[in-house]
């Protein structure tokens, strides 16, 4: 389990995260929602072990991240940061293959197999022989997704939980690929027992694909639980400052449907 306890950080006098506690278990998809600047990416950076909290602690399977070195951490969790900027001339396959760097023990054949599988899961098999700089924004994002899939799938033999942290992975994707990417995340959670955390902006997309949602407003957690109980007009107003109506989904009555007014 990836566990964050009482995280606090302030930068230039502004509190970015205030007493945030959160857990991510194997096999679940946890969505993180919040307005711009609510602290979502900072939270993700802390969970990834890339940024240390000023107070509080993050641990993986009860080991604090501060006690794990980078190479070890990379074998347990993969991270897809927001809007990657790659301008160097690399091939798609070369980019995806980097996901296997933390696993030098894998044979070339194993790595090729993983790449093949990740390319298919991210629906970029047809781009495998293209050059990365020639891809569109959405294609590039899916290739980066395939890279972190290799990293998280390669971790199969590793001890302990595996975690996949995605920062707005659907930002430049069309609706079909938004659905496909989240479906893939959920499938991996169910079949591979990976804990998936995903930052999203589309509330209904989050309600459809996430087991639990965490809502951040001004650095504070204002709700955490299953979508039906967390998504209420009151919490949505606290998070986005916009009036919203929540109705049952016409096709899936158990799922809330949010209508912003």
């Amino acid at each position: 389990m990836l566990l964050a306890e009482n995280l606090f950080i302030e930068r230039q006098g502004k509190v970015v995260l205030d007493d945030v506690s959160l857990s991510l278990s194997a096999g679940e998809v946890l969505g993180v929602l919040g307005a711009n600047g609510a602290g979502k990416s900072t939270l993700l950076a802390m969970l990834a072990g890339e940024l240390a909290p000023q107070r509080g602690e993050v641990s993986i399977d009860s080991t604090p991240l501060t006690r794990l070195d980078n190479a070890h951490l990379a074998r347990q969790r993969a991270v897809l940061p927001q809007s990657p900027s790659l301008s160097f001339n690399l091939g798609v396959r070369e980019v995806v293959a980097m996901g296997a760097y933390p696993f030098p023990e894998l044979s070339t054949a194993d790595v090729q197999q993983l790449i093949q599988r990740a390319l298919a899961l991210a629906d970029v098999s047809h781009l495998a022989s293209r050059r990365y700089p020639q891809l569109s924004g959405g294609e590039a994002q899916r290739v980066q997704f395939a890279r972190v899939l290799v990293q998280t799938l390669a971790a199969r033999a590793a001890h302990g939980g595996r975690f996949l942290l995605l920062d707005e992975p659907t930002a430049s994707l069309d609706p079909k690929h938004q659905q496909a990417l989240l479906a893939c995340g959920r499938q991996l959670a169910r079949e591979e027992r990976i804990g998936v955390l995903v930052i999203l902006h589309d509330v209904n997309l989050a309600a459809a694909w996430c087991d639990r949602l965490a809502l951040l407003a001004q650095g504070k957690l204002v709700g955490c639980g299953d979508p039906a109980s967390v998504l209420t007009p009151a919490t949505l107003d606290a998070v986005y400052g916009v009036a919203a109506e929540v109705v049952p989904h016409p096709r899936h009555p158990e799922r809330p449907l949010v209508l912003f007014n």
Binding site: N70, P81, F88, Y101
Partner: protein
Amino acid sequence: MAAKIARWRTPAGVLTALIAVLVLLMLLSASSGAMHIPLSVLPGLPFSAEGPDEALWRSVLMDVRLPRVLFAALAGAALALSGAAMQALFRNPLAEPGLIGISAGGALGAVGAIVLGGGAFIVLAPAAFVGSLVATIAAYHLGRRYPGMAGLLLAGVAINAICGALVGLFTYLADDNQLRSLTFWNMGSLAGASWPLLAGLAPWTLIVGALIARDWRAMNALLLGEREALHLGFPLKAVRRRLILLTALLVGPLVAATGAIGFVGLVVPHLVRLALGADHRWLLPNSVVAGAIALTLADWLARIAVIPAELPIGIVTSLVGGPFFLWLLAQRRH
């Protein structure tokens, strides 16, 4: 040759072709100069020499040409490798020992050593190394303040200006004898090539170069971004510190021996990247061989252009590299 390379366009194929070109070019370069040595006898000369002609050829080859040709290849390989490594480290295709002041820092260290401490290579090389290291660290920290290429280039301008001024100051202080050994710093020269120099520099370069090449995965990850490299498990601070130290260790002593030879580290990795892509697994070895080719070619041109005199090699590389650099800058704005 271009068509031939196109057909061989796998990284391993290109590497093989480049090695073949390098060997041919080294033979050609070793045969030409003020005294022409026929290519037909050249390969056997180091082992046996019969007759007065061959004895003379042999002594020219063994005492002058061969160390010179080997030195050119070694220096070119090291410059190209350091350029490729720095471009990955700075995440910037314009990073190059000459442009960002590392060569100038090395030259300043060496000139300081000549004027203040005598000209022995054993003093020169460490002084040049320290100069390069200080310049690299300065360029790195200043260059990171501004996004894109502006910071790095501005830092390079400043470092080059400061080092140039201090070299000028040392030149002013130098006596006649020291002046003679100082002049070649500004233009670069391979005339110092000798077997003892090669015996020291070659193993050094090979070892430091191999240590740099070992980090090819980290360099690839750096292309993705610093956060991405971190997420892939690379200890970024340690990698950065190591690469800065190693490139300074590679370039410093080399600059002490050759003076400032510009643009090889910029042009060669860039061309290889255009042809083969940026995967450092192949970029590094291909750049090493292509760099050796570039400087062997430049040295050959420098020696045959104005026989029996020779052009300073730095002038040749700058004449080719300068316009290429301008072209590169013009290409960036799409």
